[in-house]
């Protein structure tokens, strides 16, 4: 048994991790049994080297996991294995035999799992459940699981042979592997007795079902795992499997082996995209300078240091390509080794360097390998006695021979290996300069790193360049005599990142390149690998798609998940943190991608450890100071992706609790009546994710009101929508939800999203049936939307219904609203007398309310009503020829609107006044239209923008010589808006205007088409001011073509319209479109 140094639990031999706290366990020395720390290459007691079969862990020691490991959510790869036919076996055999076989099996399987740093979650009977990615994540957990599974089958076959006689039958394993999210942590009391680290989630169930479908001797792997491991392993299709308890059959693959030539997990070559080499010019120059110094006979050690994905390999490739292009590469010998993330055996780095040098293949027989070594040594000019000394050591290092002669002392062995390595390198240097390239040194075994250092120092005056690439957590190996330099690869600047994104796509990206560049640059934070993975995930999600040579980009959404390829990588960095720091990082993630130190300090679980915990986060480059240099107090996550991963790592329950904690802290800071939008948004965000969601919704509504107040309509819509979502299904928030819904619908209607607005109003009308005033208000708003769509009958029914709901003693404001709407309807139907009557009634109610009310909201409403009623009064007066009075009313309307800063209500006034001025004062007419247009744009009211464009077109054409340019453009702008928004009520107007322009320019055919389309709409609406110009236009067109009969028909129709409406034709000619 081995005692866990973290929690003193006794663990069975063969365990890599403590079953209770998840901490990595020491392993016994092969020679003397001393429990050796996992990262030691040699036994501290007897000095024996770790056997090559149990790899040394990465040089960087894993910080121990917290003993009371808090549960979290994380993506893991789950491996399930068991024996086919174990039940019959145990029925047949004596339990004691079964038990000892179980032990042997357990040892075999655990060894395979431990080798790849997996965690044995459970061992039941003949089945083992292993997890890769918890408690500690690696960037390649899916690949580790696949490697472990293959090794399990291999070892299982050996075991079967060994036990065949006693069991009376061969036994065969089968395996299922799947990757997905789980909750991981101690089950059964946080740290009490019986607590065990376990994973929970559907991912585990799915894996169990995959196992059940796997034939004996096979490994079934889900698509999810396969997608992340296929660069290293060979898979074949195993069709579709319907898993018990799952509705849809899922595609599965069979893992058949390791790829002979593993591809890179990186790059977008598969998508036909090639990343340009961006930035890094200085770094390349430094490498070339080191190369030159080496050529002059000074040994160089150069470390390329950078986080995963910063472009170390790419820089090396460019460096070699440059040397090759110059012909310098041909003059030197190049030896390269890439350390594997699965861990290198002792002297593994040297093993691969020499294997490359002598072309020793793993499949070579002992004799062939020896032959290659000896002839290689001879070729280097080694003397026979030298070769005789080196060859056996080399065989050992290369793994050609299993072990050295047992009589050789470990220390002696070490010295011999050093001697051999130095001799080999020296011989090579006699012939030509040597470039030794070791990539991913952070995964190298410590023995190799020590040896490398030693050899370089001994050969300090020789032309030797050792180029190492590694991550920042591994320190550059210190040399004393050779020249040493360190090149740190910092993140690309934002501009460089954008350049990289642009460079990926040789062909332009359907107009959205800028947006794509911003999106990717924000998420990837200057890391080229992240850039590629984000791009890849955009392709996978269909946001980026390819047609032939062209890529097109749909709207990129912030809601995209973190690419699966990056989750493990980033989580592994988080898992390396000490417990306090990790917890603080999670708390930061709840605050957001950018956060204030002061706020974090108030919400931190252990304030005492705050400063101690913050530093590692900065040192490990997970967060960095935001804002100005030296300005403490504000931090940001280095990558948006890291922030997301950490946040998703948190249990939902913990997120909820932390959001509430943040909400309270913000409330303390902002006081009882927060007024800043940023405070409201933050409070809304955090409370809506806490247990008190209605509180969050109230803040969101307040934020929405704030945004609406400055006409930031899209923001306001977003806040209201979020408030509604937050309140969905939460008891007690009904009234808040209704308020949010109505404001949302108002804004949706204003911005032309009429169908959505209608749906919300209808929902509210059902909910508010008992409240007469509210129901009347809904009817009024619904009616207005119908009117916009050209359905006046339905609008009139809604308004009349609303008035009936209210009765005579109803809310004066609401009554004023409905009178006003009726008045507007009457005006548009050509009944000016009725319009004046309704407007006067509206004005009376609003004035009464204005005098009686004290609440600001009621006063505001009363003002809006007066503004509207003056307007309606004005246009009706204008139509009946009382122009001066009309202008007076409308100027009063605008004056009141401006005084109260009610810009939206002012738009209507500007629209009408522009028309009225066209007779009185043409210059002011155009000015007024433009001013109105500016206001409508500021308010975001698209409907009035369209009306103002149309009136502006009339003004340009009737008053100025700029008809062809500005007039046509304004008319076309109005047509475009009306068509886009479906404002059939108004579309006839700009069509008529454009028709008139065409007619004036002699473009008869086009003028005719415009009038005809407008007439179709005008006849539906039945509005005199629309019908008249259509008839008039058509009549004059016929007049011009000499068709006097039809001309007369249409002139008569135009006259009929005027007679029915009781207006003068001249009034409709001079004041065309009033609202």
């Amino acid at each position: 048994m081995i005692t866990c140094p973290g929690c003193d639990t006794e663990a069975a031999p063969g365990f890599a991790f403590c079953p209770r706290c998840g901490r990595r366990l020491p392993s016994p020395c092969d020679a003397c049994g001393f429990p050796r720390e996992p990262d030691f290459a040699f036994c501290p007691r007897c000095g024996a080297a770790r056997s090559p079969n149990t790899p040394v862990r990465p040089a960087q020691p894993q910080k121990p996991a917290d003993p009371s490991h808090e549960a979290d959510r994380r993506p893991v790869t789950v491996l399930f294995a068991d024996l086919s036919g174990f039940t019959t076996l145990s029925e047949r055999l004596d339990p004691e035999d079964v038990r000892s076989f179980q032990n042997a099996l357990f040892e075999t399987l655990s060894a395979a799992i431990a080798r790849y740093d997996g965690f044995v979650e459970k061992f039941v009977g003949d089945a083992v459940l292993a997890v890769f990615g918890a408690p500690v994540a690696h960037e390649d957990d899916p690949a580790r699981a696949c490697a472990a599974a293959l090794e399990m089958l291999e070892r299982g076959a050996t075991l079967s042979r060994q036990w065949a006689a006693r069991l009376g039958q061969p036994v065969t394993l089968h395996v299922g592997i799947h990757t997905g999210p789980v909750v991981a942590g101690s089950l059964g009391g946080a740290s009490g007795a019986g607590a065990a680290y376990a994973v929970t989630g559907d991912t585990v169930n799915t894996t169990a079902r995959l196992l059940a479908s796997a034939a004996p001797g096979t490994i079934l792997v889900s698509e999810a795992t396969c997608a992340l491991a296929q660069h290293r392993f060979a898979f074949e299709s195993a069709g579709q499997v319907t898993l018990r308890g799952k509705a849809e059959p899922i595609a599965v693959r069979r893992l058949v082996g390791v790829l002979a030539e593993p591809g890179s997990a990186r790059g977008l070559a598969g998508l036909g995209l090639a990343a340009p080499f961006v930035g890094r010019k200085d770094e390349l120059d430094q490498l070339l300078a080191a190369f030159e110094r080496m050529e002059c006979g000074q040994a160089q050690v150069v470390s390329l240091v950078g986080e995963a994905g910063t472009g170390k390999s790419r820089l090396i490739a460019e460096f070699l390509a440059r040397l090759d292009a110059d012909g310098r590469l041909a003059r030197i010998a190049l030896r390269r080794a890439a350390c594997a993330s699965l861990g290198e055996p002792t002297y593994g780095v040297f093993g691969s360097l020499f294997r490359g040098a002598y072309q020793v293949e793993p499949k070579d027989s002992l004799e062939v390998a020896r032959q290659k070594l000896v002839s290689g040594l001879r070729a280097l000019g080694a003397r026979d006695d030298e070769a005789a000394m080196i060859a056996p050591v080399l065989s050992y290092v290369l793994g050609v021979e299993e072990a050295m002669h047992p009589d050789v002392e470990p220390e002696q062995l070490r010295r011999q290996i050093a001697l051999a390595a130095r001799a080999l390198i020296e011989r090579r240097l006699d012939k030509e300069p040597l470039l030794i390239l070791v990539e991913d040194l952070h995964w190298a075994d410590t023995a190799s790193v020590d040896l490398l250092r030693q050899v370089v120092d001994q050969l300090a005056s020789r032309p030797l360049l050792v180029l190492l690439s590694h991550r920042p957590e591994t320190r550059p190996p210190l040399v004393t005599r050779a020249a040493q330099s360190v090149i740190r690869l910092t993140p690309l600047s934002r501009d460089q990142t954008r350049e990289l994104v642009a460079g990926l796509f040789a062909a332009p990206v359907g107009g959205r390149l800028e947006q794509l560049q911003d999106f990717v640059a924000t998420r990837a934070g200057g890391n080229p690998f992240f850039v590629e993975e984000v791009v890849r995930s955009l392709v996978d999600k269909g946001v980026l798609s390819r047609q032939g040579d062209r890529w097109t980009c749909a709207e990129a959404s912030e809601a995209l998940d973190v690419p699966a390829t990056l989750q493990g990588l980033m989580l592994s960095r988080v898992d390396r943190l000490p417990a306090d720091a990790r917890r603080l990082l999670q708390e930061s993630a709840v605050l957001g991608p950018v956060f204030e130190e002061a706020l974090l300090r108030t919400v931190a679980t252990t304030p005492a450890a705050f400063d101690k915990a913050l530093d590692p986060l900065v040192e490990s480059d997970l967060i960095q100071a935001a804002g100005q240099l030296h300005e403490r107090g504000r931090y940001r996550f280095t990558h948006a992706l890291v922030h997301e991963v950490v946040y998703q790592n948190l249990l939902l329950a913990r997120r909820t609790e932390l959001h509430e904690r943040v909400g309270r802290a913000l409330e303390r800071a902002a006081g009882p009546h927060p007024e800043r939008l940023s405070d409201l948004e933050a409070l809304g965000h955090h409370w809506s994710l806490s247990a008190d969601r209605p509180r969050g919704a109230r803040y969101l509504v307040a934020a929405g009101d704030w945004a609406r107040g400055v006409y930031a309509n899209d923001d306001a819509i977003r806040h209201y929508q979020r408030a509604l979502q937050t309140l969905a299904g939460s008891a007690g928030g009904e009234a808040d939800a209704r308020a949010a819904r109505e404001r949302l619908a108002d804004l949706l209607g204003l911005t032309g999203r009429r169908t959505e607005a209608l749906t919300h109003y209808e929902t509210l009308r059902e909910q508010l049936a008992a409240d007469h005033a509210a129901a009347a208000r809904m009817l009024r708003k619904i009616g207005a939307l119908h009117w916009d769509a050209g359905d006046r009958d339905r609008a009139a029914v809604c308004f009349t219904d609303g008035l009936r709901h209210l009765g005579d003693g109803g809310d004066p404001i609401e009554r004023a609203h409905l009178f006003q709407e009726m008045g507007r309807l009457a005006f548009r139907a050509g009944d000016n007398a009725a319009a004046i009557g309704w407007a006067e009634r509206a004005l009376a109610e609003a004035t009464q309310e204005n005098d009686a009310a004290t609440e600001p909201e009621r006063l505001r409403e009363a003002a809006i009503m007066r503004i509207q009623a003056y307007n309606t009064l004005g246009v009706a007066l204008a139509r009946t020829g009382r122009l001066t009075e009309a202008v007076e009313q409308i100027e009063r309307s605008i004056g009141l609107a401006e005084e109260r800063e009610l810009l939206q209500a002012a738009c209507r006034g500007y629209t009408n006044l522009g028309v009225l001025y066209s007779s009185l004062d043409p210059r002011r007419s155009i000015e007024t239209c433009l001013r109105g247009l500016e206001t409508a744009k500021k308010v975001g009211d698209l409907g009035f923008q369209s009306r103002l464009y149309a009136n502006l077109a009339v003004a340009y054409c009737a008053l100025t010589d700029r008809c062809e340019a500005e007039g046509v453009e304004a008319a076309q702008a109005a047509i475009d808006l009306d068509r886009r928004l479906g404002l059939l009520d108004h579309l006839a107007v700009p069509l008529i205007v454009l028709g008139q322009i065409h007619q004036c320019n002699g473009e008869h055919t086009q003028a005719f088409a415009m009038y005809q389309e407008a007439l179709g709409l005008a006849e539906q609406v039945g509005e005199p001011q629309l019908l008249f110009p259509c008839y008039d236009g058509l009549a004059t067109l016929y007049l011009d073509t000499g068709n006097r009969r039809l001309a007369e028909t249409y002139l008569a129709k135009a006259q009929g319209v005027c007679e029915r409406a009781g207006v003068e034709p001249d009034s409709l000619m001079v004041l065309p479109f009033l609202y």
Binding site: S919, L920, D921, P922, R923, I926, Y949, A958, L959, T960, D961, R962, C963, E964, A965, E966, V968, E969, A970, Q972, A973, D976, L977, L994, Q996, H998, Q999, C1000, N1001, G1002, E1003, H1004, T1005, Q1006, F1008, A1009, Q1012, E1013, P1029, D1032, G1033, A1035, T1036, L1037, Y1038, L1039, D1040, T1041, G1042, R1044, L1046, A1047, L1051, A1052, A1054, Q1055, P1065, D1066, M1069, V1070
Partner: protein, 219 residues
């Protein structure tokens, strides 16, 4: 078409050329000489009824007529439309204006109203008018050619004469003149002549006209 009449427009201080035209109300011909020694005249030289904005201007002149009359000024208009067509139109739109019909634009030439030469360049510029002043569209749009136009042409057919009238007049500019009772032009407003200064220039505003009337010497 070329600008074959290089006469500069009649300017204030110059005598107003006389003319006699058939009246659109079918009554007595309209003659400037009728007003000589009796009252000042506000004269509007417009183009054909095919221009909706000219039709609008006629309506406006109609509404202004009473106000000018109150100041002792008579209003006379000239439209460049065949007398029978004009008569049909004004049967339905009775106007108090004295209107003469002059499809040949003789009056316009007499008053030296410019008619810019229609060069290839002019037409190209005219047809290539692309619109996008407010940045609403992804790119400027040409004047729309409506595809469904041909399908809807029931009963509508362009004739040669129609095109002829339009082409003869195009791009005739319009002008307004205030003539005192002695037949001397006292104020003139020529379309396009002020383009680039104020931008407003197609038709004079009511206020402008009234101001000119008030400034008439010895009214």
């Amino acid at each position: 078409m070329t600008n074959n009449d290089p006469r500069p427009p009649v300017a204030p201080g110059e005598p107003a050329p006389d003319f006699t035209l058939p009246a659109v109300d079918g009554k007595e011909p309209v003659s400037l000489a009728d007003y000589r020694g009796k009252s000042p005249v506000f004269l509007g030289l417009l183009i054909g009824l095919w221009c909706p904005f000219c039709r609008r201007q006629i309506a406006k002149m109609g509404t202004n007529e009473a106000r000018l009359k109150a100041l002792g000024v008579e209003t006379v208009g000239v439209v460049a439309t065949e007398p029978e067509n004009a008569q049909l139109y004004f049967k339905f739109r009775p106007t108090r204006l004295r209107l003469g019909a002059d499809p040949e634009l003789t009056t316009h030439r007499l008053y030296g109203l410019p008619k810019p030469a229609v060069t290839d360049e002019f037409m190209k510029q005219f047809e290539a008018t692309r619109v996008n002043p407010f940045g609403e569209f992804p790119e400027p749009l040409p004047l729309p050619k409506t595809p469904e136009a041909s399908a809807k042409l029931d009963g509508y057919k362009e004739t040669d004469t129609d095109q002829g009238e339009m082409m003869r007049q195009f791009p005739q500019l319009k002008g307004h003149f205030l003539i005192d009772r002695d037949g001397i032009v006292r104020w003139a407003n020529i379309e396009c002549s002020r383009e680039g200064i104020t931008g407003i220039g197609k038709f004079p505003s009511e206020e402008e006209i009234l101001a000119a009337v008030r400034a008439l010497p010895g009214r």
